[in-house]
């Protein structure tokens, strides 16, 4: 009970008592440190940061208690440890204020001022001290520890209250550590362990790679890579892209820009829109067939149809025979002699045979309907439910497909995953990730993205995950953080794209050429992902292979350019060194369209 009240007190005096299992701090390439809000799970960090991880030891143990067979005992011990640690931490923190106040108290000559000073310094430290004493009233071991600490304080030559406070708060911290060891032993005896792993998820090829974290695994760190290093050579991906771009340029120049655009729209319609519509049509047709099948199931539809046909035939026959009778007897003398009456009766008797078959058929139809009167509503209900479920499934599937497509387009256009895509990522816990006993859990460690991650690019993601488990039981996630890597420092990028150039001389229209941009990018804050994703202004140089003169295959030009919208639009005014002519240049970056489309 005392512990619960003390916990309430801790909350009331606003002591920082969070539930997070760790406190994260980003150590940036420029040497600055910034705390990462652990209430959020998605973070943008610099591509060459180091993440300092300080474990909240007691919160981790609190999470583990549910795995233990002695949950109540573990919870009791954890609560004690948490409270004692918090009291000692806050007590030691408030001690300087008290000591300074006491100096002022002794210097003061006026009683009123002394009272004022004591009132100003007393509240926090006396409350913390009283809470500690309160806890010791229910815990003889703690009381003995505190009494010993008190005597130690007054026997070492400094019997001031400052010294007493210091000894008492330090002793409570030591006592908490003893309890924690006791707790760790209980958990270790049950085979409860903790693990932590981090994985880099590349955005360009969806490859993943485990990141070494000191003390938690036996991964070999890959070769050091500095993403900020100036590298003007094009990578394999960009070289492949150039080949595709060259083909695209040839097609565009051959058929013209407007025709190429029209072809692209047609292709989009044929390859993307039409398959979707066809797929939907097929799905709904299938669904209608299925619904019809369900409606008819368990009902003898064929038998019913045959009986109705038989009934119909009998009725036609009667109709015919009645007509025949009418014609036969309408001309006859209706004195109705006995012979005539006999003849009529004979004909009617003959007709009654057909009537009875009608009755039989009608009875059969009624029976079929009667037999199935319960089946029909059930079938209708079943068909409706099936129809609804199937429609829902079709819609859900299509929405999922749409979301996936949107996510892919988003990733391609911006170079970053969407939150829902990031959410699907996880850290890999291979055999190389150690299973640690709690007593071996360090106070802190470092997720060293800068030195332990190797090759990486902007937009890649890192997932950090801590989990715990028990032998032969499914592990439980204790904490998970998602990081998106961003270049926050100024840097230079190279990219390739199609440029449309218009020579200064003559009336030539724009022609498509392959070009490469080398652009200086300004630094930004990690939080400003919108800027990096969608604005990302750059200034630099564009180098293009030109074809002003069709006979000369080796023309090239250079242009100072400004880029905007994540380099989707680059514009400048260049000079053709081969032809000695100026030209206007508008370059567009097309990361995925060119790979898949031939104009």
């Amino acid at each position: 009970m005392k512990y619960i009240l003390t916990l309430l007190f801790i909350v009331c005096v606003n002591i920082n008592y969070g539930q997070s299992i760790w406190d994260l701090t980003e150590s940036k390439p420029n040497g600055k440190e910034e705390s990462i809000d652990s209430l959020l799970v998605y973070h943008n960090i610099d591509i060459s940061s180091r993440i300092l991880i300080n474990f909240n030891q007691e919160n981790i143990r609190k999470e583990l208690s549910s795995l233990s067979n002695q949950e109540t005992e573990i919870d009791r011990l954890i609560n004690k440890v948490i409270i004692l640690n918090e009291l000692s931490k806050e007590g030691l923190k408030s001690l300087p204020k008290y000591s300074e106040g006491i100096i002022a108290y002794n210097k003061s000559k006026s009683n009123d001022e002394k009272i004022k000073i004591l009132n100003s310094i007393s509240d926090t430290i006396s409350n913390l001290s009283l809470n500690l004493i309160g806890l010791s009233e229910e815990d003889d071991a703690l009381r003995a520890v505190l009494n010993d600490a008190f005597y130690k304080a007054i026997s070492d030559g400094d019997n001031s209250w400052s010294n007493v406070y210091l000894e008492l708060f330090q002793a409570s911290h030591k006592y908490a550590l003893t309890l924690r060891m006791e707790l760790d032993q209980l958990l270790e005896n049950e085979g409860i362990y903790v693990q932590m792993a981090a994985t880099l998820h590349r955005i360009s090829n969806n490859e993943k790679q485990s990141i070494h974290i000191e003390g938690f695994d036996s991964f070999e760190p890959p070769e050091f890579y500095d993403p900020y290093e100036l590298n003007l050579t094009l990578n394999d991906k960009q070289l492949d892209e150039i080949k595709n771009l060259q083909k695209a340029c040839d097609s565009i120049n051959k058929i013209g820009i407007s025709k190429a655009l029209s072809n692209y729209i047609d292709k989009f319609d044929t390859e993307i829109i039409k398959p979707i519509i066809d797929d939907l049509t097929e799905s709904t047709t299938e669904l209608l067939k299925e619904s019809e099948k369900i409606l008819k199931q368990d009902i003898p539809i064929d038998e019913l149809e045959q009986t109705i046909i038989s009934l119909k035939n009998s009725l036609i026959l009667i109709q015919f025979e009645l007509k025949h009778l009418y014609e036969k007897y309408s001309e006859t003398d209706l004195s109705l002699n006995v012979e005539t009456i006999k003849l009529i009766l004979k004909d009617l008797q003959k007709l009654s045979g057909n009537v009875s078959s009608i009755v039989t058929d009608a009875k059969k139809i009624i029976k079929i309907i009667d037999d199935n009167k319960e089946v029909i509503p059930n079938n209708i209900e079943l068909a409706i439910n099936t129809f609804q479920d199937s429609i829902e499934k079709i819609i859900t599937d299509k929405l999922d497909q749409g979301r996936t497509a949107i996510n892919q387009v988003h990733s391609e256009l911006t170079g970053y995953r969407t939150i829902s895509e990031i959410n699907k990522l996880s850290a890999d816990f291979s055999d190389k990730v150690k299973k640690l006993d709690l007593k071996d859990l360090p106070k802190m460690t470092v997720l060293d993205i800068k030195n332990n991650t190797g090759y990486r690019e902007e937009g890649d993601n890192v997932v950090l995950e801590m989990r715990s488990g028990k032998v032969n039981e499914k592990p439980k996630t204790l904490g998970k953080e998602y990081f998106t890597l961003i270049k926050t420092q100024a840097h230079i990028v190279t990219n390739v794209g199609i440029a449309f150039v218009k020579p200064n001389k003559g009336d030539e229209n724009f022609t498509a050429v392959v070009s490469s941009n080398t652009l200086f990018k300004f630094g930004t804050k990690a939080k400003r992902t919108f800027y990096r994703k969608f604005i990302d202004v750059g200034v630099g140089v564009n180098i293009s292979t030109l074809n002003f003169e069709t006979d000369n295959p080796f023309e090239f030009g250079a242009a100072p350019v400004v880029s905007i919208f994540n380099d989707y639009l680059v514009s400048g005014y260049g000079y053709n060194f081969t032809q000695g002519d100026w030209y206007l240049l508008i370059s567009i970056r097309v990361p995925f369209l060119m790979k898949e489309l031939n104009f």
């Binding site: 006491i102 100096i103 108290y105 002794n106 009683n111 002394k114 009272i115 004591l118 009132n119 007393s122 509240d123 430290i125 006396s126 409350n127 001290s129 009283l130 004493i133 010791s136 009233e137 009381r143 505190l146 009494n147 008190f150 005597y151 007054i154 400094d158 019997n159 001031s160 209250w161 007493v164």
Partner: protein
């Protein structure tokens, strides 16, 4: 025993004792721990209290009243909102805050009389 933190009232001289007591309560800015009576337990409490009262720089002070009847009128006039001093015969000691409010009483039936218990009185007095 830390005699520097102990003031014994001269109960054999009632007037002097009263004046000293009033002065300590109403004119000095101390956190007072007042011990009543005599005997083995009282001696133990005095020993613990003078140790717990801190150094000369700290505001804690211990007053020993061997015969409380000498100053009972002053004790009865103290600010005691919870009426803790309702049975002085059954009281070993009590604590006063800086504004002379009764904040804690140690009764004769208490069984945990250690230094932490006395420290609690001083902390309640400090809290006010």
């Amino acid at each position: 025993m830390n005699h520097e933190k102990l003031i014994t009232l001269p109960c054999q001289y009632p007037e002097e004792a009263k004046n000293s007591f009033k002065k300590l309560i109403f004119e000095e800015a101390y956190l007072l721990f007042i011990v009543l009576g005599t005997g083995e337990t009282v001696n133990k409490i005095l020993d613990l209290a003078t140790k717990a009262a801190g150094s000369n720089q700290d505001p804690g002070m211990v007053i020993w009243i061997t015969d409380y009847t000498v100053v009972s009128d002053i004790i009865e006039s103290l600010n005691d909102p919870l009426n803790k001093l309702n049975d002085l015969d059954n009281t070993y000691a009590f604590a006063l805050s800086i504004i002379d409010k009764v904040v804690d009483v140690i009764k004769k039936d208490e069984n945990k009389l250690d230094i932490l218990r006395i420290w609690k009185s001083f902390q309640l007095a400090l809290k006010g």
